[in-house]
């Protein structure tokens, strides 16, 4: 029976697509509830459900073209990820991040390409295109674990930073390889490097300019949560579009810049500079908006990936060796990239060496996902022979499935085994007590409001508030005793509170500038001072608080 009965067979209409999206969102919400109980990464669960959909082709009828995935779903995902990436921490590890992202991706592109060319027997350029698309790591599933396990922020920044930049590098390398396969084109290293610099650098520049414009001209001058939030949405898509269609917009024939790098740059500028120019209300609205959008888009991407894989049509017997070759190649090359480039980095920058346990997580956490699949789907429009495209598509799907289902489900065990899970029982207990205080105070406030508005009898409201107050007092005493037993937690709390307070001070200064209480100059001066304070706090956290071993010996 057709799920969408009113649609004619084979006809795709708007309502049908809309209903399919509604079904997917409902499934996504249901999966989000289920994974909370079964401890499987959310994205892994979504892909599995998407794969199951392949056996029920009439259940949802959604035609997401590769261009639509890239142009509609990828920009908000990247923008949201960069929005929360602190520049101070990214800057501190920019060298290893770029080394892994640029050097690693280039090595991965050619080395994986070579293995696939030699063992699978696809043409060289098709193998290079595969090497490029499969080099893009996707940290969504891993980062979700990092957050729940309380892993060090530095590891999170390394993984996210590498992923954001290697997505862009992989995309550019992939485009160059596919273009070179077109009739009359060729692939020369010198040309490729030149194009890479223009496409990548140009994309970065577009993102920086648009991000700066939105941060300094809109977010700094307008105080309206809706307008400011809408503007960030516009810059996320706008930077991608302007970069990709740069030639068309500015009349330079055939010039395309890297849309992905443009989004990354715009997100970094808005997240690190623009958000500081917003009021607390706007900031909260904006963060909620992007959190919801990222959840929606992520859900759609991974469900659509599952749908696109269409298990029913894959000839496993014929492709199993090719998929195994691809999996072996990415595991081997990822090993060389993480540990080899890690060793080079340790020699060049010993004070910032990436600790060995972090390297293990970076190696096993190098999952492949949305970008790889979206790029693989783009192969359908390339000049490669259809059977080559099919082989590469199946290999990509195989690798993505392997990384998500095997690596994605075992990474949390590895993190725990390496002792990188930051939230210990003491800290968990502290958070529980704090949450209880917070929620009970909210309950008391609500009772107070109801009492004031006359919904509750005044005497009843007072009695209930007093009961709440007694509970809050009890929790406070418990918290104080807990800190007495575990004083190290007190300092972590002090640092976090100081950070929150400095960010609140920044927002307050922005509000005073907007309302005209202080001049822009004075506001700017104070904002810079607070920015410096935050940078100093980062350094204290990084060097003073972990100063039990000299730098460079942290990993041994």
């Amino acid at each position: 029976m057709r799920f969408l009965a009113y649609a004619e067979a084979g006809e795709t209409n708007f309502l049908e697509q809309e209903l399919s999206v509604v079904v997917l969102l409902a499934v996504a919400a249901a999966m989000a509830i289920i994974v909370k109980r079964v401890k499987v990464p959310y994205t892994v669960a979504l892909v599995v459900v998407g794969l199951i959909f392949a056996f029920f082709p009439n259940f949802v009828d959604l035609d997401f073209s590769p261009e639509l995935i890239l142009g509609l779903l990828i920009p908000p995902l990247l923008f949201e990820a960069t929005l929360h990436l602190p520049w101070s921490k990214l800057k501190a590890d920019l060298f290893p991040i770029l080394l892994f992202a640029i050097g690693g991706t280039m090595l991965g592109t050619f080395a994986v390409g070579w293995i696939v060319w030699a063992l699978v027997g696809v043409p060289w350029l098709a193998a290079v295109a595969f090497g490029a698309l499969i080099s893009a790591t996707d940290p969504v599933a891993v980062i979700a674990f990092f957050k729940s396990l309380g892993v060090a922020k530095r590891l999170s920044v390394l993984v996210e930073g590498e992923s954001l930049f290697n997505d862009a590098v992989a995309f550019v390398a992939f485009t160059l390889a596919v273009s070179a396969a077109s009739p009359g084109e060729s692939f020369g290293i010198a040309n490729a490097v030149g194009d890479f610099v223009v496409v990548g650098g140009g994309g970065l520049l577009v993102g920086l300019v648009l991000g700066w414009f939105v941060s300094e001209v809109v977010l700094a001058r307008v105080d309206d949560a809706l307008i400011e939030t809408t503007t960030t949405l516009a810059v996320a898509y706008g930077s991608f579009l302007v970069a990709e269609e740069f030639g068309l917009i500015f009349g330079i024939d055939g010039l395309h810049l890297s849309g992905i790098l443009a989004v990354v740059a715009a997100g970094l500028v808005v997240g690190n500079s623009g958000l500081r120019n917003t009021s607390p209300t706007t900031r909260i609205t904006l963060e909620y908006f992007w959190e919801v959008l990222a959840f929606l888009v992520n859900s759609l991407v991974f469900l659509v990936i599952g749908l696109k894989i269409n298990l029913r049509e894959i000839d496993f017997a014929e492709n199993v060796v090719n998929v195994l070759v691809a999996i072996g190649a990415i595991l081997l090359i990822r090993f060389i990239i993480v540990y080899g480039f890690g060793a080079i980095h340790s020699r060049v920058q010993p004070s910032r060496r990436v600790p060995r346990p972090f390297q293990h997580v970076m190696y096993w956490g190098g999952l492949r996902g949305a970008i790889s699949l979206a790029l693989a789907l783009l192969l359908e429009e390339s000049d490669f022979a259809p059977e080559v495209v099919d082989t590469l598509l199946i290999m990509t799907f195989g690798v993505v499935l392997f990384t998500l289902l095997i690596q994605g489900t075992t990474i949390s065990g590895l993190i725990a085994r390496l002792g990188l899970s930051g939230i210990e029982e003491n800290q968990r207990h502290q958070q529980e007590i704090q949450a209880r205080i917070y929620s009970r105070r909210a309950g008391a406030a609500e009772i107070g409001r109801l009492g004031k508005e006359g919904v509750l009898f005044s005497s009843m409201a007072k009695a209930m508030q007093a009961t709440y107050e007694a509970e809050v007092q009890e929790s406070r005493t418990e918290l104080s005793e807990h800190f007495g037993t575990h004083p190290e937690l007190e300092v972590a709390m002090l640092l976090q509170a100081r950070r929150d307070a400095l960010v609140a001070e920044q927002s307050a200064i922005g509000e005073m500038v907007r309302s005209g209480f202080v001049s822009t100059d004075v506001g700017h001066h104070l904002a810079v001072e607070l920015h410096n304070r935050l940078a100093a706090l980062d350094l204290i956290e990084e060097r003073w608080e972990t100063n039990l071993k000299p730098p460079g010996k942290l990993d041994n």
Binding site: F483, P487, E488, L548
Partner: protein
């Protein structure tokens, strides 16, 4: 400093405020002895020498703010009270900075808050050197306190 205190205890740390237990122990020791307490925080070259002077000044200012807040938190939580407390943040070698501060009149003892080696030198060497240079008793406070990880 109040007139009824019987001297000064210097609590020295060159990292790891997270060993809050050590500061609490130093606070209680000073309170029991009726001494004032000085928290000497040292930004030492092995960890901070690569920062330019402007940045290290900022780090020192921010650390001063944090340690004052930490000291107040410890004072709030303690059943005893220290008459006078202060935080001093210095940039330099641990030995030199401790010696410079210990020259002040009234300093009775020095306690080290971080029982960890420093720049390839054992903490026991450092204790010996500080004892020789200042002529004061030097001890590691609460050595069993959990280190910050």
């Amino acid at each position: 400093m109040s007139t009824d205190v019987t001297g000064e205890l210097i609590y020295v740390s060159w990292g790891g405020t997270g060993r809050g237990a050590a500061l609490r122990a130093a606070y209680d020791q000073a309170a029991s002895a009726g001494q004032s307490l000085t928290y000497l925080a040292i930004l030492d070259p092995p960890h901070f020498s690569d920062l330019d002077s402007g940045l290290i000044e900022l780090v020192a200012e921010e650390l001063d703010w944090l340690l004052n807040a930490h000291m107040r938190t410890v004072a709030e939580a303690s059943y005893q009270q220290v008459e006078s407390t202060k935080v001093v943040v210095r940039v330099g070698e641990v030995d030199d900075e401790v010696e410079a501060l210990a020259k002040a009149p009234g300093v009775k003892a020095i306690v080290l808050g971080a029982p960890v080696d420093i720049g390839g030198r054992s903490v026991h060497d450092l204790m010996g050197a500080l004892q020789t240079r200042t002529g004061l008793p030097v001890d590691i406070i609460n050595p069993d306190a959990p280190p910050l990880t």
